[in-house]
Amino acid sequence: MKAILGVRGAFDADGAIDALLAQPQTATFIVTKLWREFVSPAPDPGEVRRIADAFRASHYEIKVALRALLLSDAFWDAKSRGTLVKSPVELVVGTLRTLAIDAADTRPIVASTARMGEALFAPPNVRGWPGGDAWINSATLVARKAFVARATRMSMPGNAGVAATGGSMPAAAGVGAFEHLLLPLPPVGQGVAEAAAERDSVAVIRAAMLDPVYQLK
């Protein structure tokens, strides 16, 4: 006999999960975690309650919770842009996809995420990665910038992406097009503006990706 949240019984693993799911707080807890992952670091209690209710009513279909979350006004609100730090995997996979880099050997990439504090399938403890701002410290930020610098220098095998987009920037596109595609917020460094003045689209992409705001989502 064990007691879980005041319920006594001979629980097996499924029984223990049933006891947890019977608690309304479980839906709130999961939706809050999803909010901090996808929307912003400051969950709106009213919205969380609304989505959690729908989630619970669906018998915990994650799809229902995510759909409600991703269609919420808060998700699309400009104020939510750039408020979250990309996880190492988001940063690495996102950069590779953006630059159309097809890495034949993924082992160095896995090693990169480990240097950024996210060793795949090896969380620091059973609680998992703390995430959020904790992704960034003086060691991980160096590793993150080093990866982006390497990716944009085309020194990675299989990187045809930057070169393919290269050449002179179409005058009509303007810097804004790149910024909008690559950055959640206006750049804080001068690099993008400098590269744009030289009409060098490769340099604009590189400068945008090395700007601090590229670390955000």
Partner: protein, 422 residues
């Protein structure tokens, strides 16, 4: 085409490849004449589980730490939970041998410190520190109502919380919030070999380094942006500025005569010595040694780790002495917990509670403190009751080392330990 905002910071990864022409012997000369510590057990008057209200031996000048942070604190985390019972062996206690049929260390193997306590043989290099009176052995460090989960228990240690209390900021972060380091300091602390900021989590100015620091060409510069934006962006910009400030001073090229062992913690203490040599103004260095969670085949693993620890501590003391900093350095080990006295069926030990820890330094009053685990009166779950509250160790650092008031930081008054010489 260049990217002007990117400043290439000197790659100091080569520091581990520096040729060492130095001597292997220790040169802790300033204290070499100190008479050997008596091996009688200098039991500190710290009662287990006592309410932390009495004021014992608080440092003068509390609240003013004008010179305090020139005194360096080096914390060494024995991550995973080191087995204290095989670290300081009660070699005359028959119950120890009954609890550890496979893992017990024979009486003739231990490095005797007193007529009943001896170090694991791999810790033999620490005997020189002990004989100089510069090694304090803290027995039975723990806390009431212990938690056996790695992450919960280290959170308790890192935040100096009660076991039933959740605090977010580390105990050193709270210290530096209440009594800030001088603005000339490159950082409050350096974290070496861990992405987890531990006691410096939650707002302290921290720089993190690998065991061998690498500031490669990264695009991290000193932008001096001051941007009103999301907290995450402010955090990134602050981190960039910290990296640039430290990197401008830290090159990792100081030539030490000391030979540093080629283990992870050997690299970490070399990095620490380089930080002290080149950055100088920093209050804390936290080093992590991994691998102490010895559920299976403990004997070989713990022997290797303790050997690496003892050699690294010896190199650290020697390197700091070269820099004339050993007399104002306090080195303290800690961990989330110790391990159960009963060995398990896999030749290992499982999560326990209190454990033994070490304090070393030029100003240490050497000896045995606390009390050996009372193996005859284990708790219902088979663990010994702690003899020293870990917050007493922190109070000692705050009051006796830095001269900072500890009550606000620690949420109460904890007895300090007389391990620091005046």
């Amino acid at each position: 085409m260049t990217i002007r905002r990117r400043r290439f910071i000197r790659d100091i990864a080569t520091l581990t490849a520096l040729p060492f022409t130095g001597i292997a012997s220790l040169t802790i000369g300033a204290c070499a004449e100190t008479p050997a510590a008596t091996s009688s057990e200098a039991q500190a008057s710290v009662a287990p589980g006592k309410a932390p209200d009495s004021i014992v031996g608080t440092a003068a000048g509390r609240g003013s730490n004008r010179a305090g942070y020139r005194r360096l604190l080096i914390l060494i985390e024995l991550k995973g939970g080191n087995d204290g019972l095989n670290t300081l062996v009660p070699y005359r206690d028959a119950r120890y041998y009954a609890l550890r049929p496979k893992l017990a260390i024979a009486r003739d193997q231990v490095v005797q410190l007193s007529d009943r306590a001896g170090l694991h043989p791999a810790l033999a290099p620490l005997l020189a520190h002990w004989n100089r009176g510069q090694l304090a052995v803290l027995q039975g460090v723990g806390y009431p109502a212990p938690n056996l989960s790695h992450f919960r228990s280290i959170a308790i240690w890192d935040t100096a919380s009660r076991s039933d209390q959740q605090l977010s900021a580390g105990w050193l972060t709270r210290t530096f919030a209440a009594a800030p380091t001088p603005p000339t300091f490159a950082a409050d602390g350096f974290v070496i070999g861990s992405y987890d900021l531990g006691p410096l989590d939650g707002g302290a100015r921290v720089l993190t380094l690998g065991n061998a620091p690498r500031y490669a060409a990264t695009g991290v510069d000193a932008p001096g942006h001051s941007v009103a934006g999301p907290e995450a962006l402010v955090h990134i910009l602050r981190t960039e500025a910290d990296i640039a400030r430290a990197a401008s001073r830290l090159h990792g090229t100081h030539a030490f005569a000391t030979r540093f062992p080629a283990s992870p913690i050997g690299n970490a203490v070399l990095t620490a010595c380089n930080v002290v040599a080149e950055v100088e103004d920093v209050a804390v260095v936290r080093i992590t040694q991994n691998g102490f969670d010895t559920h299976a085949n403990q004997a070989a693993t713990q022997g290797r780790l303790l050997g690496e620890l003892a050699q690294a501590l010896t190199a650290l003391a020697s390197g700091l002495d070269e820099l004339h900093r050993y007399d104002d350095t306090l080195i303290v080990t800690y961990a989330e917990f110790g391990r159960r006295p009963h060995e398990n069926a896999s030749g290992g030990t499982d999560h326990g509670t209190s454990s033994v820890h070490f304090a070393l330094g030029g100003r240490i009053a050497g000896g045995l403190y606390g009390a050996p685990p009372a193996l005859e009166s284990l708790s219902r779950d088979g663990n010994p009751v702690h003899a020293i509250d870990f917050r007493s160790v922190y109070a000692t650092v705050l009051e006796r080392w830095w001269g900072v008031d500890s009550a606000a930081v620690l949420g109460g008054r904890f007895d300090t330990l007389p391990i620091i010489r005046a």
